[in-house]
């Protein structure tokens, strides 16, 4: 929002006075002489509200009530609250401000964050709102909510309520065991039952949050000028997982924190099985920052953690005996997978959150009874909200990989040679039958036809050869043939840099279980695989392989391979040449 200083406004007032005096005889003429900035500002607000209203969705869950949603893409993806769609089940009717009703299917659920993603069908040019950077929102900024309070929108036109941002980075304790609102926006725009799931917009009509909760308490279930919205930045962090049809979990550090008598936030308990412990955090360490956000209160830590998906790696700065230390820590899930499924099932029985009335939930539609329009768009699977969309996302990423690999990589034996950063030459050979690496310290070989967890060679790498063999197989055959492969979600391109930018640069991640190991592949938008994490043993440190393509080369072929395991760097491989040879096994030890 443009900030005009006071003197400017006074000047404007003088201009208006002149304008008014000049046209005194005629009120009609006066209207025509309203100063340009006034008209422009009014027009800008009209347009912003119209944009927000067009993206607003009225969600109807039959007798169980309903709520609001907001469209975020032309192909019909819309965000709403978990507690809004929960009674509706997997299919629902959604009304837009143009008076049309569309069928929609449930795509992904984040029960902890109270977020759901649905997809409307019937158009490929839905009006939608742009998710903007909610960390730039300031207290006092103009905002408005567009939604369906008290389910008033029988003509499907949303109700608009305007207000200002009352607070930012607010933390709201979980209601019961779930529905935690972390780092949320607080507004005095009226948020009433039924507004849940609708968009909160800034003065330009951009989406800064999804309304979901209000402080009601002793005044009954109506607005008291205190509403809360899930921030756009949190939504963006989880969007990839939701699009992948997942049942998403939030993150925990694996440690609890408390404020000590000096006001420092210190670790009061830590799980020895956690990655935080493996990365060196200990009891009584002071947490200085997490994911780039300073931690001065316990709330600040909960705030930051609450916006992060389970499985992300985030930078943690901590202090012990005056010494400042840094680590990149992998966050664990807040719940066990079965626990999340149980929570969803329990919520079905007893839905929470603002509801226009206390009507009991209607019977949920089953896949067999789905409306014709969304019949092919649902597949139930344990651990997923809607597995159909996971396949779509996996295949989308696979198509990108295939397109990038088709031009540059061919079947046969891949031979990469060059020099190590630490000095000395190396040669890596990858084929259908084996993987071989020659290093100054010796030669290692892995049988590619068997299970890859047996020998995580070369020693000290945590499984570099296995990771590269799977990578080659992924490029040549695609994820469907690789093993049990699914779309995992998104993660920051560079976890260590998380927090330096308000919106992290996110890349797609595929997850695969093959040949007795588990692996994740980070895939850039150009289809190039830029990272591999391989776990020969679950819940231990993976082998972490980073691949950097040549700036002018094909995205699928690396110029540099960096390998890490735990806290140590195994090596950085500068690749001078990649050759594709016919599939004839060569004896190990020969260098090119």
């Amino acid at each position: 929002m443009r900030r005009t200083p006071q003197p400017g406004f006074r000047w404007l007032c003088r201009v208006s006075a002149v304008a008014m005096i000049a046209v005194l005889p005629s009120a009609r003429a006066l209207a025509a002489e309203v100063p340009e900035p006034v008209l422009a500002a009014e027009q800008s607000r009209i347009e912003a509200i119209a944009r927000g209203a067009r993206a607003a969705v009225a969600i109807f869950a039959g007798e169980a009530g309903g709520g609001s949603g907001v469209l975020i893409s032309p192909d019909g993806y819309a965000l709403t609250n978990f507690h809004v769609v929960q009674p509706a089940g997997v299919a629902m009717k959604c009304g837009l401000s143009d008076g049309r009703i569309h069928d929609a299917i449930l795509v992904g659920l984040d029960p902890t964050g109270d977020v759901a993603l649905v997809k409307l069908v019937g158009r490929d040019d839905f009006p939608c709102a742009e998710l903007t950077d909610s960390d730039l929102v300031e207290v006092g900024d103009f905002c408005f909510a567009a939604g369906n309070p008290f389910l008033l929108a029988t003509d499907l036109k949303p109700s608009i309520s305007v207000g200002i941002v009352s607070g930012v980075h607010r933390y709201q304790f979980p209601a019961g065991t779930i529905l935690e609102y972390a780092d949320c926006l607080q507004v005095d725009a009226a948020i009433n039952p039924g507004n849940s799931g609708g968009g909160l917009f800034d003065a330009r009509g951009r989406l800064i949050g999804v309304n979901g909760r209000a402080s009601f308490e002793k005044r009954g279930r109506v607005n008291v000028g205190v509403g809360y919205a899930i921030s756009a930045n949190q939504l963006r962090n989880f969007l990839g997982f939701l699009k992948g049809g997942r049942l998403v979990d939030h993150a925990t550090l694996g440690a609890t924190v408390a404020t000590d008598e000096d006001g420092r936030v210190v670790i009061s308990d830590i799980l020895e099985s956690s990655d935080a412990y493996r990365r060196g955090l200990r009891y009584d360490d002071e947490i200085v920052s997490l994911a780039g956000r300073p931690v001065r209160t316990v709330n600040a830590l909960k705030n930051m953690l609450g916006t992060l998906p389970a499985g992300w790696r985030v930078p943690v700065v901590f202090r012990r005996a005056g010494r400042r230390m840094e680590a990149v820590v992998r966050l664990a899930g807040l719940h066990r997978p079965t626990e999340l499924a149980q929570i969803v099932a329990a919520e079905e029985a007893e839905p929470q959150g603002p509801k226009p009335d206390g009507a009991p939930p209607a019977p949920r539609p089953t896949p067999a009874t789905l409306p014709e329009a969304v019949k092919g768009l649902y597949e139930a699977r344990s651990g997923f909200t809607n597995h159909h969309f996971n396949v779509l996302e996996r295949d989308r990423v696979a198509a990108g990989i295939a397109a990038s690999a088709a031009s540059a990589a061919t079947a046969g034996v891949w031979v990469m040679s060059g020099r190590l950063d630490s000095g000395g030459a190396f040669r890596i050979e990858l084929s259908d039958t084996r993987g071989v690496i020659d290093l100054p310290t010796g030669t290692s070989e892995v049988d590619a036809t068997g299970e890859l967890d047996a020998d995580p060679g070369p020693p000290g790498s945590g499984g570099m050869l296995a990771a590269l063999l799977l990578w080659r197989r992924l490029l040549l055959t695609g994820p469907a043939q690789l093993g049990r492969t699914s779309y995992w979600g998104t993660q920051p391109r560079d976890p260590a840099a998380l927090g330096e930018f308000a919106s992290p640069d996110l890349v797609d991640v595929l997850e695969t279980a093959a040949a007795a190991v588990e692996a994740r592949f980070a895939v850039a938008a150009d289809g190039g695989v830029i990272g591999i994490e391989l776990w020969p043993v679950p819940d231990a440190d993976p082998c972490d392989v980073r691949l950097t393509p040549r700036p002018d080369g094909p995205p699928c072929l690396p110029a540099v391979i960096e390998v890490r395991h735990g806290d140590s760097r195994f090596g950085t491989f500068q690749i001078d040449e990649i050759r594709f040879e016919p599939a004839v096994p060569q004896p190990a030890g020969e260098t090119s």
């Binding site: 607070g167 308490e217 008291v224």
Partner: protein, 352 residues
């Protein structure tokens, strides 16, 4: 914004200003749009929020919140807040916008306006100038800053809401069955300030100047609806000067015969949480009549000037029955023995 202000900016003398003012009505709507759209009051709000403190004390059970809001009114650390059960605590804490936490001393109470004065020992404290701003006209836009619902903790900023002065009328309100003591003019706000934790917060104008203090959670005496109101700055200023000067402010006479707050004598009783809370002494304010009489924490009051007292409420009633100026004599149980203490003449005030 008032018409007068618009005139003040007119460079063409009073006549032109009058014409301008007449035409202003037609402009107000769109001018408000300009302000809302082009002027984000972030800096104004941030500056005002630094002068609002989060107050923590007794409560946390039976629907009584243990928190409220207060405003800094002097760089020396004077905080004006509302008189409430939150202050019925041995330790009252004030937390500033930057996270600084101070233990506050209760310096005075104003039973007429239900205000209290706290003092904190801080340095370089930002403070409002109480009567800097002119009274606001009905229709003026305002911001309300308070720690509603206790949502802000530590260095988190208090919440801000926007609204409009809806009326300036005498307060006719009640809390439960009791009539509110203050019946002077207050700002009625088109802004939901009637929330837990809001009382004691700041009402500021568009320039961030203090124009009032958000009132306690009260219902209208006639309709029963919850009132959103603020005590105007002029009343706050009068009250503050009297409390800061150590003057005893007499309670409104109507209710004087039914209850008298022992706090006036320096006795802090345990929080009143039950129908018949035993009147144990929680603490004794230093330098008070009670301290001079030798009352100590954990004393159990059993009689006040010859009347048996079985509960906190009974203490208040018994004290109210002691005529002003007559000696107050209490009997307490201390380590199994009955001890008499003479608290001196009963002062005026104390009603709450």
């Amino acid at each position: 914004m008032t018409r007068g202000r618009w005139c003040g900016w007119s460079p063409w003398g009073p006549r032109a200003a009058r014409i301008g003012a007449a035409m202003l009505v037609l402009m107000l709507e769109s001018a408000a749009v300009v302000r809302a759209m082009a002027f984000s009051p972030g800096e104004t709000i941030a500056a005002a929020a630094r002068r609002v403190v989060k107050v923590y004390g007794a409560g946390g059970v039976r629907g009584l919140e243990a928190y409220q809001s207060g405003v800094l009114v002097s760089p020396a650390g004077h905080v004006v807040t509302v008189m409430s059960t939150v202050l019925d605590a041995e330790a009252i804490d004030c937390v500033l916008d930057d996270g600084r936490r101070y233990q506050a001393t209760l310096r005075g109470i104003d039973p007429q306006r239900e205000l209290a004065l706290l003092e904190i020992e801080g340095e370089e404290l930002p403070a409002f100038v109480i009567d800097e701003a002119a009274p606001l006209a009905v229709g003026s836009r305002i911001f309300a800053l308070s720690n509603l619902f206790g949502v802000a903790v530590g260095d988190e900023r208090v919440s801000v809401q926007q609204g409009v002065i809806a009326a300036f009328v005498p307060l006719a309100a009640r809390r439960g069955a009791y009539e509110a003591p203050f019946q002077g003019d207050v700002y009625i706000l088109d802004c939901t300030t009637n929330n837990p934790g809001s009382p004691g917060g700041a009402l500021v104008d568009r320039q961030g100047r203090l124009v009032g203090i958000l009132g306690k959670e009260l219902r209208s005496a006639t309709s029963g609806v919850w009132l959103n109101y603020a005590l105007p700055a002029a009343e706050v200023a009068t009250s503050y000067r009297q409390m800061a000067a150590g003057e005893t402010i007499a309670p409104p006479p109507a209710d004087a015969a039914t209850a008298f707050d022992p706090l006036v004598l320096g006795v802090v009783l345990v929080p009143d949480l039950l129908d018949k809370t035993p009147p144990f002494v929680e603490s004794v304010n230093a330098g008070s009549a009670a301290a001079r009489a030798g009352l100590v924490p954990d004393d159990l009051l059993v009689a006040v000037s010859g009347r048996a007292v079985a509960s906190r409420a009974a203490v208040r009633q018994a004290l109210a029955l002691v005529p002003e100026g007559d000696p107050v004599r209490v009997t307490v149980v201390r380590r199994g023995a009955l001890v008499d203490c003479d608290l001196g003449p009963r002062p005026a005030g104390g009603r709450r």
